[in-house]
């Protein structure tokens, strides 16, 4: 791979992140699409008949259930949504009285599942529905980690094309002008479909008119930044299995701060590291120069030392030579002298 292409890809990642944080981390508060729909669930009206479950099963063409929908015994155990059950009704006993609560995707205004998904398989539609596109999904299941309401489910036993499954708010039916299946079949009017703004008004009106029946809280008005499904109840929500500690921060804001640091890291880190490298190089160069210097000095010193030695040696050699010459001369003179003396004495007959 070319160096430039590499840098390009990296910069692209940074820009992508920057763009995404600009929308996710902005200071504005997203209130949902105007005119979008939702459903209001009133737990004081729900009788736990499981008609909504049956309707959901039918309109979504989900597989037949082992326990028929008119068997109410299942209400005694706690259930959650599954890949072939988009909605369940659970029974809670509060002050010895049964209270029922329907559970399904809440179709958040700013869904955690959508901000978690790394292929953008979740989309919040203008109808209010949060839908999932299985043709994009990689099957990482991060959406299931992220959803604070524990809604998305997975087809763990499908080896090739497992899907994330969850309630669709019957988006196709809404677009046809029909009601969501569960709302249509609810015999008690515990479910009301309409524009979210209208539902909020209906809920407020009910609470205002019957303060002795309802507690003063519309669950979903602000939880996790608001949801399209909303709940009113006669008992505290935590008593019917709904978390009241989720806060009002929309999911994307939980990560936007940290994500916004990405462009900074991409932008600044390389400069810092190159700086560190340059400093190191400089330090090394200085050290090298100093070393050079030291070596040169040492060499010079050694050279002068050597020169001195050589000179001394030469001088010594000179001296030695002179001494040798002197010695030789002396010797020669001495020999000459001896020869002269010999010549002057009469010859020895034995030497001849």
């Amino acid at each position: 791979m070319k160096r430039r292409k590499f840098i390009g890809m990296l910069a692209g990642a940074g820009a992508c992140m920057a763009a995404s944080t600009a929308t996710a981390g902005g200071t504005h508060h997203f209130k949902g699409y105007p005119e979008s729909f939702g459903v209001l669930f009133d737990s004081t009206k729900c009788i736990g008949c499981r008609k909504c479950e049956a309707a959901c099963n039918k309109v979504n063409e989900l597989p037949a259930q082992p326990v028929p929908f008119d068997d109410l015994a299942v209400l005694d155990s706690r259930r959650r949504t599954h890949h072939d059950t988009f909605t369940v009704v659970n029974k809670y006993s509060v002050n010895d009285k049964p209270v029922y609560r329907k559970q399904q995707c809440n179709h958040c205004l700013e869904p955690a599942c959508a901000s978690a998904c790394f292929v953008g398989a979740f989309v919040k539609d203008k109808t209010g529905a949060v839908s999932h596109d299985a043709s994009k999904c990689v099957g990482c299941r991060y959406c299931m980690i992220a959803c604070p309401f524990e809604i998305p489910t997975y087809e763990y036993h499908d080896p090739i094309t497992p899907r994330v499954r969850k309630c669709t708010m019957c988006q196709p039916r809404i677009e046809e002008g029909k009601l969501p299946g569960c709302v249509e079949d609810c015999p008690k009017g515990a479910l009301v479909f309409g524009r979210r703004e209208d539902l909020l008004n209906i809920a407020r009106e009910r609470i205002r008119k019957h303060p002795s029946i309802y507690i003063d809280h519309i669950y979903g008005e602000r939880e996790m930044g608001g949801t399209s499904w909303m709940y009113i109840s006669g008992v505290p929500f935590e008593k019917i299995g709904m978390r009241e500690d989720l806060g009002v921060t929309p999911a994307p804001e939980l990560t936007s701060g940290a994500l916004s640091l990405v462009p900074a890291v991409v932008g600044l880190w390389p400069m810092f590291l190159t700086g560190a490298y340059a400093l190191t190089k400089r330090r090394e160069k200085i050290a090298e120069e100093e070393q050079h210097h030291a070596v040169a000095e040492a060499v010079a010193e050694a050279q002068s030392e050597a020169a001195k030695k050589a000179k001394a040696a030469m001088e010594k050699a000179e001296r030695d030579k002179q001494a040798a010459i002197d010695r030789e001369v002396k010797k020669a003179l001495k020999e000459a002298e001896e020869a002269r003396l010999k010549a002057e004495t009469p010859a020895d007959p034995s030497e001849q």
């Binding site: 999904c137 990689v138 604070p148 763990y156 080896p159 701060g257 390389p270 190191t280």
Partner: protein, 389 residues
């Protein structure tokens, strides 16, 4: 070179037999996973969509492979030339570590064959997971190029080797940037789940914690593996490696002590800022203290003493405690303290098959690593490329 230095040993040593058994079981389970689905081998549920394949294979795998970027940054960017011989082993482990992280992911992803989707077809940049994917993919490429000279040297492909080598500086800088991003992004993943992760572990600074703790993780793995190769692969090491090893160990020990101490303080600042002190008196608090004192403070002190007393042995033990601590931390966040509010019967416990597949992948990785260390110029310099680094 003499032709008969080592007497031919039997291939079926106990270690190799064990390896073979694990690999066979692993292959059988692999077939099961890919023909009968994730659910056939795991205990994953709709409440617990991530198990040990994410908690251990991905989170720990990436953290423990941090030795690659920490070592090459120390040597090439911060001029710690004397640690040079540590670079190749560290890069090799990191490269294999990441390669096997990606390999392990294929088991966990429902539609593994779409792994490139987020990078090519449908990017989802609002997600920390997107960043993890992008950075890991790029970094794996970087590591492959950084690792490749060992291969080119063996094959004597000089041109390629010098080309790969000429990129060192750029690759090192990329490596550090990419590592900073994805090491922290792994922590960032959990920012989206404040209601599921126990408050003692959840923090807006999760990303920072993951990044900072990845540094001692990487340094400790270098020390740990260095110690192991000294024991088991001494004959493969050349003089430089043997001579430089104590310096690497003690130098890294000192750095690890400093960063662990920083991390220790940061974590308490995290607790203080969210005012989570009252949780400390609960059972979760006790567990948190075990992690913080036993596996952060203790190894920090061990390293400090090791660096001062110049004790390589103590540094080696400290590296083991640190590595265990990192594993503990990542598992706490992803599995133990995750979903802490669920009733016990809904909590996740891995199945034996799930654990076995993880063991299989780790064994496979160690086997490949052993082959590389034995066959490639990693613990020693190639005779034809001496001093060419």
């Amino acid at each position: 070179m003499s032709h008969h230095t080592t007497p031919s040993k039997t291939f079926w040593t106990p270690a190799n037999i064990l390896t073979a058994v694990i690999l066979v079981i692993g292959l059988v389970l692999t077939v099961k996973r890919f023909t009968m689905g994730i659910g056939s081998v795991t205990n994953l549920t709709d409440d617990n969509p991530w198990g040990i394949w994410i908690g251990f294979d991905l989170l720990c795998g990436v953290a423990l492979a941090a030795g690659g970027y920490t070592t090459s940054a120390a040597v090439y960017l911060f001029g710690m030339k004397k640690y040079h011989s540590a670079v190749r082993p560290a890069i090799t482990t990191a490269f294999l570590g990441y390669a096997f992280v990606v390999f392990a992911l294929l088991y966990d992803l429902g539609r593994y064959y779409r792994l490139p989707y987020p990078l090519t077809i449908y990017p989802g940049p609002t997600s920390f997971l997107f960043e993890v994917g992008l950075c890991v993919a790029l970094y794996l490429t970087v590591l492959a190029i950084e690792f490749s000279p060992a291969l080119w040297e063996t094959l004597r492909w000089k041109k390629l080797r010098f080309w790969a080598h000429s990129l060192t500086l750029v690759l090192t800088i990329f490596g550090v940037v990419l590592s900073t991003l994805h090491q922290s992004s792994l922590g960032g993943l959990y920012l989206l789940a404040p209601s599921k992760l126990h408050p003692l572990w959840y923090s807006p600074y999760l990303a920072l914690f993951f990044f900072v703790s990845s540094i001692p993780a990487g340094l400790s793995m270098v020390i740990f593996e260095g110690g192991l190769s000294h024991t088991f692969l001494h004959h493969k090491m050349d003089e430089t490696h043997i001579k430089e090893a104590p310096g690497v160990t003690l130098g890294f020990a000192k750095a690890a002590a400093v960063v662990l101490f920083t991390y220790f303080n940061l974590k308490w600042i995290g607790v203080a800022l969210d005012n989570n002190w009252h949780y400390l008196s609960t059972g979760w608090g006790a567990w948190f203290l075990v992690e913080m004192l036993g596996f952060v403070l203790v190894p920090c002190l061990m390293y400090a003493v090791a660096a001062r007393e110049k004790s390589q042995k103590l540094a080696f033990w400290a590296s083991i405690v640190t590595v265990l601590g990192i594993v503990l931390n990542r598992l706490n966040i992803s599995l133990v303290a995750f979903n802490w509010q669920l009733p016990a019967e809904l909590r996740y416990v891995p199945s034996w098959e799930e654990i076995m597949i993880t063991v299989f992948i780790v064994t496979l990785e160690i086997t490949v690593l052993r082959i590389c260390l034995n066959k490639l110029p990693i613990l020693h310099e190639h005779p034809e490329f001496k001093g060419a680094h």
